[in-house]
Point group: C2
Chain length 446, copies 2
């Protein structure tokens, strides 16, 4: 098999002499034996490295920055702890994410609340916890928030989410994207200005700044640069028209990672420098006070840190049209622990993790065990011809949007998540049991 | 608003004089007040009607039939009870589904186990429970099963899943579909025959027949007819070559339902008659004993029975290119309780459930509250211009593959499921709590 591609695998991944993959000093077979499969294995050093990398990359002498971890990618008490220890803040997008962050000990003043439809309960919870800021997404929310702060002596910091007509994809961006999406308030239509004026007029709310998010899995800074330019132009307009001084510009998340070796995401340092330069230079050009810059990486912090270990169950060669053959390799998980392949057409890298293989590479498809033909994990990959039931397979870069989007489809219990570090493993999230699932079913308990 | 389309809504749905939607005699506002939203509301009469309809449609004097409910669509103890009371069997596709069916009191002799990658544990569990049959999907499984039955005195009935090169879609089918999928053993390649011969040679296994499944959301019988023809030709071949008498032909599931008024699925009776006719006539033509016919409806039994009740949170008009406008209506659920729109591009019908609306219809998009722009429930629908936060919206035909595929994305707790009947509501599956989610997180309990 090929060498381990460092761009794709967690940073402590090693290939042992017996051919096993080793993560954080812990052997794959040991992990499978101790915790069962499927299993999410998080390389703690990898996560902490990304946290430190963001912290360092966004430290500038001439621009104050803050980095918030977007917890929707993967939320767990331990990851929150690592994030806090690394000096970052946390983005949450629901009462549940907020509740877990608070329960995990994230200081409220480091938490920002997002969402296009926050309930009154969620807003109340955020306000009474005293979180750093709430990102306002609609006029309905301004009204809801006004009712909540009416009886408070405190003042709540808010940002307003802007729609700027910029949409970024991996390598390109669309600068004239129509604004046909659920998030944000349009700058072009005047809704954003109207919302800002409304918020400024509400005594219990303090408008700290503006927020923009342009997409996900982005590899080039140009989309961020364009959105920064447009946001700063709006900030200059707010200064000129309303004498409003903007403290913070949050450019959101979206920094991409490598799922397959051909993916070539930019370094965090390069992206940080590009954002720094555009914010500083545009602010100078527009003659406005440079706002503090915030970013919200989620996938870029946890995505590469994690692999999923599966056990191979069945192997089936299929004759395709012509002389070609495809080997279907079925594992003990599937679309319940990885919906991204079916949902987004995502690609992944995988390899046998439990031993050295000697067979030639065969055109293969890695599939799950769900009762659905679309239950595919990796549509096209090469696996060794001597692969066999009982082998462990590791799929790389499953840290973001895997466990957090997992389901119990076909009544499969969701996998455990363990962290590995210095030869030790720690259970972060325990495996679900059938008893957990059945506990909800009232027909069994009536 | 338009009249209620009986093809789409649960059969007991009514429009009260105050404009509320009423399900099983229970008012929407009452349901929301008692159980909260989002909420899955199952019309028990609708499910029981479909069960009876299948039972009746597949009762022929000259052809023995059996109908198995495909529990992957929605598994709950009460639904299993209704299925059993209605005389049907149950299909399960995992240890979890099997465990729930047994716990709910489904007689083992009415259970069939499916799956392309059944673990040794799942097979052992099925064998020791004494279920009706195991549908074999690979050579690896034959070996696994052989090891399990080696020490049994009992004999285990099995079917073999065939790949027949037929792929059915809503209105058409492909008769020369290549066999590039994870399920089944190919008739064309000889794998199916080889597997059958192997199974016949294993003392602890009894080959009862063959299974085929050609797709889902099918509106025309022609794909089933083609697959029946091909399966019967193979059965004739098995008779001629190996003097093997096939007892059962299982043609799988896939019967479609209406999600939107323009969907026009055939009646169960028409489909049943078409399958009956082709099996009886082809068997006669091939001069083989007519096998027993089995079918496995899932969606067709529970899909239309259920609506999801959501509460509207925010309403946002968006200026599109040109003079057009789209109203984004955000509700308190989303892709965590309905992944089908994002995953399959599924369409749905929805309407305000809590009151009479008087506004003109506006081009709208129903979206969820997840922190993801693709979190769309209904891409295009017409909603009244006087829709407002606090209104309840009912989305129709959410009984199949909604709660069963639900996730905790963004740490949202999964909705409760209640059944309604004769003015009474009964909790089938309770709403998850944050405590349920946090219980798995070991970092909170260390």
């Amino acid at each position: 098999m090929d060498a381990l591609e460092p761009r794709v695998w967690p940073m402590t991944t090693a290939l042992a002499v017996d051919g096993q993959l080793v993560f954080g000093g812990v052997f794959s077979k040991q992990l499978a034996r101790e915790y069962g499969t499927p299993l999410f294995v998080v390389d703690e050093a990898d996560v902490r490295y990304r946290i430190a990398e963001f912290s360092k990359a966004f430290a500038f002498s001439d621009l104050e920055c803050s980095v918030h971890y977007a917890s929707k990618a993967f939320a767990s008490a331990d990851v929150f702890r690592w994030v806090v220890e690394g000096g970052l803040g946390v983005d949450v997008a629901s009462g549940g994410e907020l509740g877990l962050a608070l329960a995990a000990g994230v200081p409220p003043e480091r938490i920002v609340l997002h969402g296009n439809n926050k309930s009154a309960e969620e807003l109340e919870r955020a306000v009474s916890a005293g979180i750093s800021a709430i990102v306002i997404d609609s006029f309905d929310e301004i009204i809801r928030l006004q009712q909540i702060v009416r009886h408070q002596n405190d003042v709540v910091d808010v940002l307003i989410r802007l729609t700027l007509g910029v949409e970024a994809h991996t390598h390109e961006f669309i600068s004239t994207a129509h604004e046909d999406q659920k998030f944000g308030l349009s700058v072009t239509s005047g809704a954003a200005e109207q919302a800002a004026v409304a918020v400024i007029g509400i005594p219990g709310l303090r408008l700290r700044g503006f927020h923009s998010h342009i997409g996900s899995q982005i590899f080039e800074p140009i989309g961020f640069e364009e959105s920064a330019k447009r946001a700063l132009a709006f900030i200059a307009h707010m200064k000129a028209q309303h004498d409003f001084e903007t403290e913070e510009l949050d450019l959101g998340g979206g920094l991409g990672i490598a799922y397959v070796p051909s993916d070539d995401p930019p370094s965090v340092a390069m992206m940080a420098k590009a954002l720094h330069d555009i914010v500083v230079s545009e602010s100078a050009r527009l003659k406005i006070k440079t706002p503090r810059l915030s970013v919200e990486p989620g996938r870029a912090i946890v995505g590469q840190s994690t692999v999923t270990l599966y056990e191979v169950g069945t192997i089936k060669p299929i004759q395709l049209d012509g002389d070609e053959e495809r080997v279907y390799v079925s594992v003990d998980g599937g679309m319940s622990d990885n919906i991204r392949t079916a949902l987004y057409g995502a690609e992944y890298t995988a390899r046998v993790a439990s031993r050295e293989t000697i067979g030639a590479g065969l055109q293969s498809r890695l599939v799950g065990k769900h009762c659905e033909s679309g239950d595919i994990l990796i549509r096209d990959l090469v696996l060794p011809s001597d692969i066999a039931p009982g082998d462990l397979i590791a799929v790389a870069a499953t840290g973001a949007y895997h466990r957090s989007m997992a389901s119990n489809y076909n009544m499969l219990t969701r996998p455990a998540v363990v962290s590995v570090k210095d030869g030790q493993s720690t259970l972060l999230i325990r495996r679900e049991t059938e008893a957990d699932l059945f506990a909800l079913d009232q027909g069994l308990h009536r």
